[in-house]
């Protein structure tokens, strides 16, 4: 009984404190994730839709697990990009998780694909690699892991839509040279190490031409089996 009285007293005090806080919010920034991630927006857009800079990726709608892994990798410096490493260095895990979920939950429209600057032959080579791979050279198809609609799979595999060719090409290059790495087994490092520069150009160009499918959401975990192990997507 005494405990209950004390609990109600505590509740009253808490509510009173909330009232006080509410009265002050007029002079406080909005208590929202949107206001907290404003530091991300000059490069990634207000809702993570990307900006006119082709090297900055779209974040919106990617699986939260993928975005969280990237935030952790930027924070520790495993994934190297000084402006990102610097911004995230002293932010705690739960906050990075909240940021990942915020951008995963945003669904601004995909931009219309930009006309490609490469030849039809190069695009055809990109399509071939992306949809069928090249078994002779141990190159799996992009769609075998990133999904038939290239929308990714929960929780860790990103969709590849809405990205510009220079960004995709830079990331594949970073994997080939080892400046972008992920948890072992680092599947993308293995894949990228089998690609030539011409392969990278072709596949980046073709991916950038893909129109938005009706359902852009990443598919559920376990919808299809991965053909090889991937540290970012535990089975």
């Amino acid at each position: 009984m005494l405990a209950r009285t004390a609990a109600s007293a505590a509740l009253v005090v808490t509510l009173a404190a909330f009232d006080g806080a509410a009265a002050q919010t007029a002079n406080q920034p909005p208590d929202t994730m949107a206001a907290r991630v404003e530091a991300c927006t000059p490069c990634h857009g207000n809702k993570g839709e990307g900006t006119s800079d082709v090297y900055f990726p779209r974040l919106a709608g990617k699986p939260a697990g993928y975005l969280y892994n990237q935030l952790l990798a930027f924070r520790s410096g495993r994934r190297k990009y000084p402006p990102m490493n610097y911004l995230l260095e002293f932010l705690p895990d739960p906050y990075l998780q909240a940021m990942a979920e915020y951008f995963a939950g945003e669904h601004p429209p995909l931009p219309p694909p930009a006309p490609s600057e490469v030849s039809k032959d190069v695009l055809a080579q990109g399509e071939q690699l992306a949809t069928s791979g090249d078994a002779g050279r141990n190159i799996p198809a992009c769609v075998s892991c990133h999904g038939p609609g290239l929308t990714g799979m929960q929780p860790g595999i990103p969709g590849l839509l809405g990205l510009r060719a220079p960004y995709i090409s830079a990331q594949l290059g970073a994997w080939r040279y080892g400046t972008r790495t992920a948890k072992s087994p680092d599947c993308m490092q293995v894949v990228a190490s089998h690609l030539t520069e011409a392969d990278v150009t072709a596949v980046a160009a073709w991916l950038a031409t893909r129109p938005a499918p009706d359902n852009r959401a990443p598919v559920a975990k376990g919808t299809y089996a991965l053909s090889f192990g991937c540290g970012s997507q535990p089975n």
Binding site: S76, L87, F90
Partner: protein
């Protein structure tokens, strides 16, 4: 029967003694962990994604790269074979157990002030953490700095060995704050000017300086025109130290690391003691403002362009009068960090943006966007000139060249 009972009682007494000893031991370890936080040991002795205190972190210096050492209790590669005496000697004298000289990147010039009891507690804590077998990586220093004998010269000039001596004319609280700030906190490592020899003279302690290799300006803790806290309330100081944000401003750059790894873990009494001491060492009367060259045509033009840039990009958070929405969106009016003579920090904040550290008291901080990609050198110089001179701020205009030079400042 009687003897059995006394044996049982004796056994019980023995067990209680053991339990008490263990309690006492775990108390010492807990205190050691707290003090290791106060000393921010982890900032250097834990590598990114590395095991706790296993070392191996690269520390770039003007003289080459140092790699921090393994201070886990591993007997082969860590400090597992050290005694408490060895550890105290390292902290107090800056020498390895074999007498070898330690590079002064290890802040032994501050740690020398730490008491023997505190050193023993930190050592007991370090003995209690999991050992990690990881060999120390050799330093990569350029000639002639790879010759450790040079440290002798440095020590003669800049090192005075000795535990903290309380000032009997000051309160216990002031002295506790002084002990933490000057000793484990090693605040002087950044907040004092560093000369070409990598040292600081005693008379320059806490007078501020540009941090080598990082290109952030660590403001003076004694001048109210910089980060002197003379006209701050104790609450604003403790808020800043414990949570990273306050009604007067937020921490950023290297100070965000200090709050994140160290200061947020200090208890209220110690934080307040540091605040009392820091407020106490600020100069009572403000020195005259930095010589302001009368605004020539160029700087009036800059400031006028700066207002346009400010109203478009900054005012939505920092307010049309620079009032901000403290503590999360800091005020820029009457903000020492904006006005001080060195404009390095405000220029870098505009270019790089930044988040205050996530702390127990402020787990989801608000961040400032980087404007490096959005504003030209001229616009950066203009907006920084504007905020340094508007609303009664007494800073001086900055040039586009200064803004341009800081675009290449290291970010990590």
């Amino acid at each position: 029967m009687g003897s059995k009972l006394s044996i049982a009682l004796l056994a019980l007494a023995a067990l209680t003694t053991v339990a008490r000893a263990q309690d006492k031991n775990s108390d010492v370890i807990a205190r050691g962990e707290y003090l290791a936080r106060a000393g921010d040991c982890t900032a250097c002795h834990t590598a990114p994604e590395g095991r706790l205190f296993a070392g191996g972190r690269a520390m770039p210096t003007p003289f080459g790269t140092l790699y921090t050492s393994n201070i886990t209790p591993d007997p082969e590669t860590g400090i597992g074979k050290w005694s408490a005496d060895d550890f105290y000697k390292t902290m107090h004298s800056g020498r390895f157990p074999d007498g070898g000289l330690i590079y002064p990147a290890m802040p032994f010039a501050s740690y020398t002030k730490v008491t023997r009891a505190d050193s023993d507690a930190i050592f007991a804590y370090l003995r209690s953490i999991p050992p990690v077998n990881q060999k120390n990586r050799p330093h990569e220093l350029r000639f002639p700095y790879d010759n450790r004998q040079l440290i002798l010269g440095w020590r003669t000039l800049f090192f005075s060995e000795g535990e903290f001596k309380p000032d009997p004319t000051k309160s216990d609280e002031w002295n506790r704050g002084a002990y933490l700030v000057e000793g484990l906190g090693h605040c002087g490592m950044c907040h004092s000017p560093i000369n070409a020899l990598g040292g600081t003279s005693q008379s320059d302690a806490f007078k501020g300086g540009l941090i080598p290799m990082q290109n952030w300006y660590a403001p003076s803790l004694t001048s109210n025109r910089e980060a002197g806290l003379g006209d701050w309330s104790i609450k604003d100081i403790t808020d800043l130290l414990q949570t990273g944000v306050s009604a007067r401003g937020v921490v950023y750059g290297p100070m965000a690391e200090v709050v994140h790894n160290s200061l947020q873990y200090l208890n209220d009494a110690d934080t307040k003691a540091m605040a009392v001491y820091l407020k106490g060492i600020a100069e009572a009367s403000s020195p005259p403002p930095a010589s302001s060259t009368l605004p020539n045509t160029e700087s009036s033009l800059l400031i006028s362009l700066g207002k346009t840039v400010y109203d478009k990009n900054c005012a939505s958070c920092h307010g049309t009068q620079g009032e901000g929405k403290p503590p999360h969106w800091p005020p820029l009016a009457n903000n020492q960090s904006i006005e001080m003579q060195s404009a390095v920090n405000p220029i870098r904040m505009v270019l790089n943006g930044g988040y205050p550290p996530g702390t127990k008291g402020n787990p989801m901080p608000y961040g400032m966007p980087p404007f490096a990609g959005l504003l030209s050198d001229n616009e950066v110089a203009a907006v920084v000139s504007y905020i340094r001179t508007a609303w009664g701020n007494r800073g001086t205009p900055v040039s586009a060249r200064e803004a341009n030079e800081l675009r290449s400042a290291p970010l990590n």
